[in-house]
Symmetry: C2
Subunit: 204 residues, 2 copies
DNA sequence: TATTATAATGACTTTATAGTCATAAGTCAA
DNA sequence: TTGACTTATGACTATAAAGTCATTATAATA
């Protein structure tokens, strides 16, 4: 706790923030340790006091970018009663979070593909995070199937991935078409659109 | 025409085939010109007689991988009458092509993301190809909306991208879960699954 | 203030790989 | 067979960027 006030932790955060900013601005392929040192206002060697290597920097940037998303979304979703309401909320919260972290996700989704630059182990943890999300959705789907609302032929996990891909595709579409202003009204509209397609697609 | 028989053309194809094989086996990030030369059984300098640079090799590998897909799919789709039948055929043909070029798409989809390694101009042509596909789908959607079958609130182009992402997600899911055997029965099942979700999602 | 411990520096080393080019081998018309 | 032209070679150069480490600056302690 006290540690959080030390220079060490602050410098870690400071370098991490610089890294994220750089990556948002120039993409993963143009991100170098020299640029990071320069941008963070430290010497290159200093970075290696706080991070193991470049992969460690990238992994932390990604982790921090996705960190709160899942828990925040899960909180809201769990408050809802029906599978349908849960899915509606999930889509909305997800798009909201993407909108709030517009520049981060724009790079992660468009400038693709961070993943390439990660070591195998880091890639796996990235995929695991994705899968965890799909599993979360699959549980909602299963509940809906049990209640007889959703088609019982669905593969719940795969259906979870389908929903994630719809959300991502929506975000990419809007990034590309410069609907840069992610105001709440737009997000309501967009999430309703995805919801209407997805829910009719899986309902009995 | 006569040229097609010359060594020049053959060597171009031979290098290209080696490049594709290497990329399928080891992914884009491990692909080097030295390996290519070695694998194709030519000296490195020779590659540069047939390709401008590494980007040119990658671009050609990608182009050749996607080449016939679109035209073959479009041919089959155009023979169908109703928007629903067109969409059903489109999904099936797309999955079939992916199955036939399993190793290629496995790398392109999973080992992600080739795109990073391309120059801006090549990335654009990749995105254009994607968009062309989405436009093709959007025309079917528009027809369906006009006929009153599909929801008239749909953004046809975005909906096209949605369908593409569902197909891609399905393929990735099956690659990951090692349903490596892409036999026609599996493809029929998988494409029917996507169709059922998508069509119910967009129907009135 | 002197001494020790910790943090920071950046010039340097290392490595990987794209692309080059002088040289050699092969082909073919006269 | 020869000489001109085409094709192929691979050792070499250039470059970018990751990661190191001897040195220096700063802070903590006695």
């Amino acid at each position: 706790m006290a540690e959080e006030e030390t220079g060490k932790i602050n410098k870690f955060d400071c370098i991490l923030a610089s890294a994220r900013k750089l990556i948002e601005q120039e993409g993963f392929s143009n991100f170098t340790m020299d640029k990071l040192a320069n941008n963070a206002g430290v010497a290159k060697g200093t970075i290696y006091l706080y991070f193991k290597d470049k992969n460690d920097v990238l992994e932390n940037v990604l982790k921090s970018g996705f960190q709160t998303m899942f828990s925040r979304m899960a909180d809201k979703v769990e408050k809802k009663e029906t599978p349908e309401e849960k899915i509606k909320t999930l889509i909305y919260e997800n798009l909201l979070y993407i909108g709030e972290n517009k520049y981060f996700f724009k790079t992660v989704f468009l400038d693709e593909m961070h993943v390439v630059f990660l070591k195998k182990t880091s890639q796996e943890s990235y995929n695991l995070r994705r899968k965890k999300y799909a599993v979360f959705i699959s549980e909602i789907i299963i509940k809906g199937i049990d209640e007889g609302i959703f088609k019982n032929v669905l593969d719940p996990l795969k259906t979870g991935f389908y929903l994630i891909s719809l959300i991502k595709t929506n975000a990419i579409y809007n990034f590309r078409n410069n609907h840069a202003e992610f105001n709440e009204d737009l997000i309501k509209l967009e999430s309703a659109e995805i919801f209407d397609i997805f829910i009719d697609g899986i309902k009995n």
